[in-house]
Symmetry: C2
Subunit: 316 residues, 2 copies
DNA sequence: AAGATACTATAACGGATCGTTATGAAGATC
DNA sequence: GATCTTCATAACGATCCGTTATAGTATCTT
């Protein structure tokens, strides 16, 4: 015989609290409701669930056995409610975020860790990609957010762009690089050193091409390419090579004192780091929370960079 | 946010089966019912539970997490249904049975074991007592059944008597007792041996008094009293003492070949072994099953005794 | 690629039941 | 034994639940 799960829960509540009134209160119901439920159950089952006229109400062996199952349900119901609640406020769920490798490795991974210190039950599924892939992934609903540099003229119909950092590049090298000793390194000096290329497909690679050609290079002297951010940094730490990187990525590495930016201004691309999302997509609270967290993280990073530049005279 | 447990179960069923139609079938519902439930849930939660347009239906991370709790409820619900079902057919529950010590020890305990070989989930709470106590216990709803010898004139208003065996007593002794060698032992011979008294308060004790006095004894030569059935049997096995016992109890011990009945007829009391129960009480199916089992057990015992008496000429 | 098929979503409806307030009955406590 | 708390019953309104009928959509087949 099937028993309404709600009735089992009411039974459990009454058994737990030892009274119809208290049990009803526990469930936020009026007393007659659960009283009727119990009467109905006893009539239906043809078996008393409580010994009559005892206070506190004492369950029958049978009633207790049934209530045990009710306890399970009550607990499961509570857990489900908690889950929903934590989900609604963005405290649980999944965030699928894709981004360009350097930003992800250099900045976002750390931000994810910070985010999860306040949202431990939010899982973050990260993936790599460049703008075309990310745009496709967004539209296919494979990721919730994309964090990548976008060109002004990038086509992004149906996508929402939230700019979070200007797309400024710098030339990076190790802190012991000889060029850092010069007062005012000239662009032509740059061509004297080997270069490390950003990953193929990245906007940075195009930037590097344009940069070197503008400096008068007839061909690219690429010594190393294809490495991740960590590979590039480790390469740079061991050789006097140069590479091009987003300023923010280099800035984030300042604590390590292994690489830094050359005090030379290079043409900045018409590009900005942005958070992309589908404009028509449903965004779970967790995704919203994460996006705002990333935005505020970059906001403070921008201020940090500003103050840093004011403090140390840039190029000294 | 509280979620209707029924909805969680429906969600679980759909996740489990991978389809709305199959999930509805699993619960014995029509498809539109659970379809509406899902739509309503998604609207209420503001969060998709399934990825749209995929077959088999694939739950969202969130939907799956919620469904997990639904699984728990589904399982608990099934278990509760099974419990009710087994209870309804008397396959589970509790039987509280009280009875006189000798019958309980000598006959009922074994019958209980037999009963439970077919009803393993029925718990039997046994207690001892004589008629007045048992009647009180029945009326106070402390026991469901009483098994005891009752006098014809016992007052039992509100109680139902089901006679299961005539109340015939025999004189018991060990199988090596010298009186068994006599062709026709006379009542007077009985007085030459020490007697073991049944427990105080038992009808047997009154029977013993009456018997001995009718045999011309001026006083009772009681050597041992107060022991349980096992104590009495062990005493008898070690001495040529005599005692009075219900025939059925002695009969049940025949396998042990340690005690037997003297081939002497003694006046049988106006008494019968009966199953007592409150006439107005609710009896659970398990109690009913047990009562009928006991009745049928004694029924076959009665036939057994009859055939046994026809086979071995009684008194040889 | 287009029809066929199967599954899901929506609409409309009848009815069960759930929860409420009001009130009476029964224990428990002093 | 009187009072107070608690449980049971009655009446009622409304939610919502499950049903049938039907339209829309995705998958499969040839």
């Amino acid at each position: 015989m099937k028993i309404d799960e709600r009735h089992l829960i009411q039974l459990a509540a009454v058994v737990k609290t030892g009274g119809v009134t208290e049990g009803a209160a526990l469930l936020g119901l009026a007393q007659p409701a659960v009283s009727r439920t119990l009467s109905m159950l006893e009539k239906r089952l043809g078996e008393p669930l409580f010994v009559r006229g005892r206070r506190p109400l004492q369950p029958t062996t049978f009633g207790l056995a049934l209530a045990e199952h009710g306890f399970v349900m009550l607990a499961a119901s509570r857990k489900a409610s908690d889950l929903v609640e934590s989900f609604r406020v963005g405290k649980s769920g999944v965030v699928r975020v894709g981004g360009t490798p350097f930003f992800m490795d250099g900045l976002i991974a750390g931000i994810c860790a910070e985010f999860q210190s306040s949202h431990p039950d939010v899982r973050i599924d990260q993936s790599y990609g460049y703008f075309p892939d990310l745009r496709a992934a967004l539209k296919a609903d494979q990721i919730d957010l994309a964090i990548c540099p976008i060109d002004i003229l990038d086509e992004g119909s149906g996508l929402e762009f939230q700019q979070i950092l200007p797309g400024r590049n710098v030339v990076a090298c190790r802190v012991t690089h000889p060029l850092l000793l010069k007062r005012r390194p000239q662009p032509s000096h740059l061509l004297e050193y080997p270069w490390v290329a950003p990953p193929p497909g990245s906007p940075l690679l195009a930037d590097l091409r344009a940069l070197l050609l503008s400096f008068g290079a007839t061909e690219l002297k690429i010594r190393y390419s294809g490495g991740s951010l960590m590979a590039v940094i480790n390469y740079l730490k061991t050789a006097d090579a140069l590479t091009i990187m987003p300023h923010s990525v280099v800035f984030a590495q300042r604590k390590d004192k292994s690489i830094t930016a050359l005090p030379i201004t290079i043409p900045h691309p018409e590009r900005a780091l942005a958070i992309l999302s589908r404009v028509d997509a449903h965004r779970s609270p967790a995704v919203d929370q994460f996006a705002t967290f990333v935005r505020s993280g970059f906001e403070s990073l921008r201020h940090l960079i500003k103050r840093h530049e004011e403090a140390v005279v840039w190029g000294l």
